[in-house]
Symmetry: C2
Subunit: 243 residues, 2 copies
DNA sequence: CGGTTATTTGACCGACTTCAACTGCAGTGG
DNA sequence: CCACTGCAGTTGAAGTCGGTCAAATAACCG
């Protein structure tokens, strides 16, 4: 758990150099780490929105559902991510968080987030950066789902994930642990699982990726990015790891 | 112009009651009002992202484009909206703003936004609310495009627009000025203009709306909302005008 | 092992796209 | 006043991408 918090602190100080006091304050805010089993909800629609959430380990999805069960994933959350910073200002949760793999998260109470603005402006700025980047990613997803083909969209999603995974050091020479099921990919892209399967096989047979056994290998990263028209600018990662 | 700024100030104080000093500071920050002709760009990809933008009059679209010209609208901006608050933290614009109708906008320099956090915390909070709500809307659009049918999505888009228009007093008893072309609707929903046309006619012939001559009339608002599964919670409008 | 869940395959279907032509309308200039 | 132009909207026919249904593997797990 301690090590997990360090990933979070490291990510927070990626853009703004934090003082020891700021780092200490940051780690002190993070309370009540809890782990959830794969597939289980971490927060539901209508829940009071009174904490931000830090992902310490595992993957989560932010989702919305229609009354008849159609489901859409709005964001994939990875270790180090700080989400729901808007809890400092908005009142009610309008979406859901659920664990994709076994995941452990901690929370920061709403009062702490609000307080940090006055006490630790640079921490506050780091929080806002996280929130604004998640918003930028959501906008890119609108483009991805609205205007890219299934194949392009899938390629783009994979590019985004590996890029973000690289940034927090979750890669191993082009090979990544990949806990997402095809159902998750479908819900990210607004597709059926069956079509996701066909698209994945296209990517496999064109030699761009290997995807099996909960593991993703990117064989031709350049080609994959070209297919997806992936340009990482929208991720606003300008730190040392920017690649 | 003066009157337009008042709309903005009114919207800013919808959730947080602002003091006279705060209102004055707010209006003092808003500089350089400029008007753009329908269809012309207001800000382009790669532009330095050093100002937030206030919409004083007219409609804008936030857009992204793929290299081959496919275009997606990410947000419709209406009078009173404050956008690009993230300019206080992020550096580079990754999307485009363009005028839908003739529109006049003003800007707030990045330095002012950053400064306001310390000097006028409640204004800062109001700015953040705007940014977070735009993010919430973007997430709803992901659902709209990814999982709703064309008909449902169109209905939902219209519900959102009239709801936001009501909130800033742009309605006239169920009748709204409607400068969007079918091309804009298509780019909002990830559809072809031709299909938009057919969907609009479905809505017309089922008696839910009238849409002609740059004017929208909502005849059966309840039915339209039911068709769209529209629940305004994600707009986080909790003020007096919440309806 | 057996039972469950995830992935894969095939056949068919439908929502939406593409292409092409036509209508209506506002502006423009003769 | 009326042709001419250009653009938004409309209509129809044909095609495609992706969905649905059903069933067969294949992986996971107690």
């Amino acid at each position: 758990m301690r090590g997990s918090s360090e990933i979070f602190a490291a990510k927070m100080s990626l853009h703004v150099e934090l003082s020891a006091a700021e780092k200490a304050a940051l780690l002190a805010m993070v309370t009540r780490p809890q782990t959830s089993k794969a597939g289980s909800p971490v927060a539901a629609v209508g829940d009071p929105l009174d904490t931000a959430t830090v992902v310490l380990d595992g993957l989560l999805a932010r989702t919305k559902q229609l009354p008849d069960g159609r489901r859409q994933i709005l964001a994939i959350l990875i270790p180090g991510d700080l989400v729901d910073v808007h809890a400092s200002v908005l009142r009610q949760r309008d979406d859901q968080l659920e664990a994709i793999s076994t995941a452990t998260v901690a929370v920061i109470p709403q009062s702490r987030i609000a307080g940090v603005a006055a006490e630790f402006p640079r921490l506050h700025e780091a929080f806002l950066r996280e929130a604004f980047i998640e918003a930028a990613i959501a906008r890119e997803w609108v483009l991805n789902i609205g205007r890219r083909t299934a194949l392009e969209g899938m390629a783009h999603l994979l590019c985004e994930l590996i890029h973000r995974w690289d940034a927090v050091g979750l890669s191993d020479g082009g090979k990544y642990p990949f806990p997402l099921k095809q159902q998750h990919l479908a819900d990210c892209l607004g597709l059926s699982t069956i079509h996701v399967n066909r698209v994945v096989q296209q990517l496999r047979s064109s030699g761009l990726i290997e995807l099996e056994r909960r593991s993703l290998s990117v064989l031709k990263r350049q080609d994959l990015q070209r297919l997806a028209d992936f340009t990482p600018g929208y991720l606003h990662v300008t730190g040392a790891k920017a690649a």
